[in-house]
């Protein structure tokens, strides 16, 4: 049954290709809020690819289920279109209208072909409409997925941006933590710290938590994990920047930080680290006199 409709649809598409393309694009461009030449050319090219592929697939395919393997090529083309639309910043409506604006011209042709048989016409239009709804929804879905990927990538970048490991001195690393520590971030912090330890051959790492708003048991546990991992690699960690409230919280929570060197400021931690690496700090004479 649907085979007849899809064969007819295929004939209509392949017979009236150029005409369909013109009407389709005219309709499509009228819906777009903003246009540029490069974008238009791309859409034109994709649309020109789409029509023969649609006719081809309709002829070959047994089913109108667009998730079936026969529709693979067509799906791929639609994916490309949707993804490029995401990159160019089109809205979902503009993306979906690529498919939906082909409906009208197709219906016109169906009407012309089946004008006298209203039952056939109604059925054809129903079948065609369902098919194009599926295709349109598919483009929106791909659009959504592509957007999610963009968000994911941005999250990843933020994660990396927010955890810099800096070398303070030969053999001394500092890790200024800013923002809340969750499991995912701890993982990144740990990895980047350990990589940097190997890279620079550092013996001491100062973890500065001045920018960490709250320390709960989970954050403390994450910190201790990072310290344990660094110790396994042969580097000692100092925690610095512990604010009075945080010191109170840590004790109230019963977190054991006794095995870890803790300092209230990064400066204190740095002096300890310098002493550990065998360096000594002298204030110049003129400065001392002034004091």
């Amino acid at each position: 049954m649907s085979k007849d409709y899809s064969a007819r649809l295929a004939d209509i598409v392949s017979d009236n290709k150029d005409q369909l393309l013109d009407v389709w694009l005219a309709g499509l461009f009228s819906k777009l809020m903003r246009r540029d030449k490069a974008g238009d050319a791309e859409v034109r090219q994709k649309a020109a690819q789409f029509l023969p592929l649609l006719a081809d697939t309709l002829k070959k395919s047994e089913t109108l289920n667009i998730q079936s393997p026969e529709w693979g090529d067509l799906r791929q083309l639609l994916e490309e279109i949707s993804q490029s639309r995401v990159r160019q910043g089109f809205t979902p409506i503009e993306t979906a209208s690529f498919i939906f604006s082909l409906k009208e011209p197709l219906f016109d042709h169906l009407r012309k072909a089946l004008g006298d048989d209203s039952k056939q016409l109604a059925d054809s239009i129903a079948v065609t409409s369902t098919l194009f709804d599926d295709l349109g929804l598919f483009t929106v879905e791909v659009y959504q997925k592509a957007r999610e990927q963009v968000i994911l990538r941005q999250q990843q970048e933020l994660l990396e941006l927010s955890t810099p490991v800096v070398q303070l001195w030969d053999g001394i690393l500092a890790l200024p933590l800013i923002g809340t520590l969750d499991s995912a971030r701890t993982q990144v912090v740990m990895e980047s710290l350990l990589e940097k330890i190997v890279e620079t051959g550092s013996e001491i790492a100062i973890i500065d938590i001045t920018g960490v708003p709250t320390v709960d048991t989970l954050v403390a546990q994450h910190l201790l994990k990072t310290i344990a991992a660094a110790r396994l690699m042969g580097a000692d960690c100092i925690i610095s920047g512990i604010r009075p409230q945080i010191a109170q919280t840590i004790v109230h929570l019963g977190v054991n930080l006794e095995d870890v060197i803790t300092k209230s400021t990064l400066a204190d931690a740095f002096i300890i680290a310098m002493k550990r690496t065998g360096a000594s700090i002298n204030t110049s004479e003129s400065r001392q006199q002034r004091a």
Partner: protein, 118 residues
């Protein structure tokens, strides 16, 4: 049978693990190492695991046990050259290897042992 070589440098023993550790190899190493500590009157052991990419809880425990055994035989153990991925795995497994001394590479490990024997 496959064996992990134990090299003697003065009163130090150097063990470099270059192959993937499987359980039997680890047990053999433990036997060999304790025997050599006694035989060579070693006072320090360096275990270099820089070529080890994968560890499981058994190997982690075995390393920790070996260090404890060496300590009883009056030899300090320093574990050197652990890969970041291995360190993360061990911590996630809950093996913090407390009681085992660690260093970044063989050179640092030797310095550490030298200092403690001075």
């Amino acid at each position: 049978m496959e064996r992990i070589p134990i090299l003697r440098m003065g009163r130090l023993l150097l063990v470099t693990i270059q192959v993937d550790m499987h359980d039997r190899l680890a047990m053999t190493l433990q036997d060999d190492l304790t025997a050599r500590i006694v035989k060579d009157r070693a006072n320090g052991v360096l275990i270099d695991i820089s070529a080890l990419d994968i560890v499981d809880s058994f190997i982690g425990r075995m390393i920790s046990n070996t260090a404890a055994m060496a300590k009883i035989l009056d030899a300090d153990t320093v574990l050197v050259g652990m890969q970041p991925a291995v360190a993360i795995t061990l911590v996630e497994l809950g093996l913090n290897l407390t009681g085992v001394r660690t260093a970044l590479n063989v050179e640092r490990g030797m310095q550490m042992l030298d200092r403690s024997h001075e």
